[in-house]
Symmetry: C2
Subunit: 137 residues, 2 copies
DNA sequence: CTGCACCCCGTAGCGGCTACGGGTGCAAGA
DNA sequence: TCTTGCACCCGTAGCCGCTACGGGGTGCAG
């Protein structure tokens, strides 16, 4: 099948993940320990690529490591319960929406403040004003 | 003037900051080391409250510690250059907008995916599908 | 004078990596 | 055949911005 052994480096680039991150995932037991060659090098299988790629995509979507653990467990048996997966995803979505709202508020305040800047070397500065004055939010 | 000594605890609650955080700010030299009583307790002045409150508001607006160092330096002389302050704030605003865009994209993907969930204990799950399938973003 | 809140300090932990340093293995070119 | 140079091995420390912990000492009110 495979001409060349699936080393950690090849696994990492196949899944689009940093090599050190793969070793980190093994340490925290998110990736299972692979077989070893006689000289101690890690020897992976195809399945590891799929698992690592799953993890990477979940991270890109902002799921936490612990959430990914749950998702991986739920994905494992073929008869996974969509409802449980949905719950994890919904929880994460709620968190994302909360952060989004916070960040949008921030953006508005910053944008308004910066927009008031004259650019002059003036003694009064809207940015410093907002930081110096009692908050009103 | 002040009836009671301005201890770290009173400073912290006056500025709305955790007490441990104040000691942390002192360690990283964001707050200057205050005078000490004979028994070694920290004795602050009014100015410390203003500085700490400035820091807290800047943190609430998402400025990094290093950015705050810069802002504090620029705020110090009365003849601060608004242009330099504006630059720091604009940089931060750009970062906030980038994160906002990322998060909004995330929200959309998650929301669409979760919306497709039937809630049934079905074998196929849109959330797992998106994690298992090659990404398309 | 006792009890308790407050303060002192140093250190370790959080999440999710990333980097470093010092050593071995392995494949391919000269 | 030798050697070059990359890939791999491992443990540990660092990043950010705190927060928590543990084992003490201090100050004030009842």
């Amino acid at each position: 099948m495979s001409r060349r052994p699936l080393t950690i480096g090849r696994l990492a680039s196949a899944a689009g993940v940093n090599l050190e991150t793969v070793r980190y995932y093994e340490r925290i037991k998110l990736m299972p320990p692979p077989a070893r060659t006689a000289s101690g090098h890690r020897a992976y299988e195809e399945g590891h690529i799929r698992r690592l790629a799953f993890i990477r995509r979940a991270r890109e979507l902002g799921f936490s490591i612990e959430q990914i653990r749950t998702l991986l467990a739920l994905a494992e048996p073929t008869r996974a319960s969509c409802a449980e997966v949905q719950e994890v995803a919904q929880t994460h979505l709620d968190e994302v929406r909360a952060k989004l709202a916070d960040l949008a508020k921030l953006e508005r305040i910053l944008a308004e403040t910066v927009a008031r800047c004259s650019g002059d070397p003036a003694p009064t500065c809207p940015v410093l004003d907002i930081l110096t004055t009692q908050k009103r939010a």
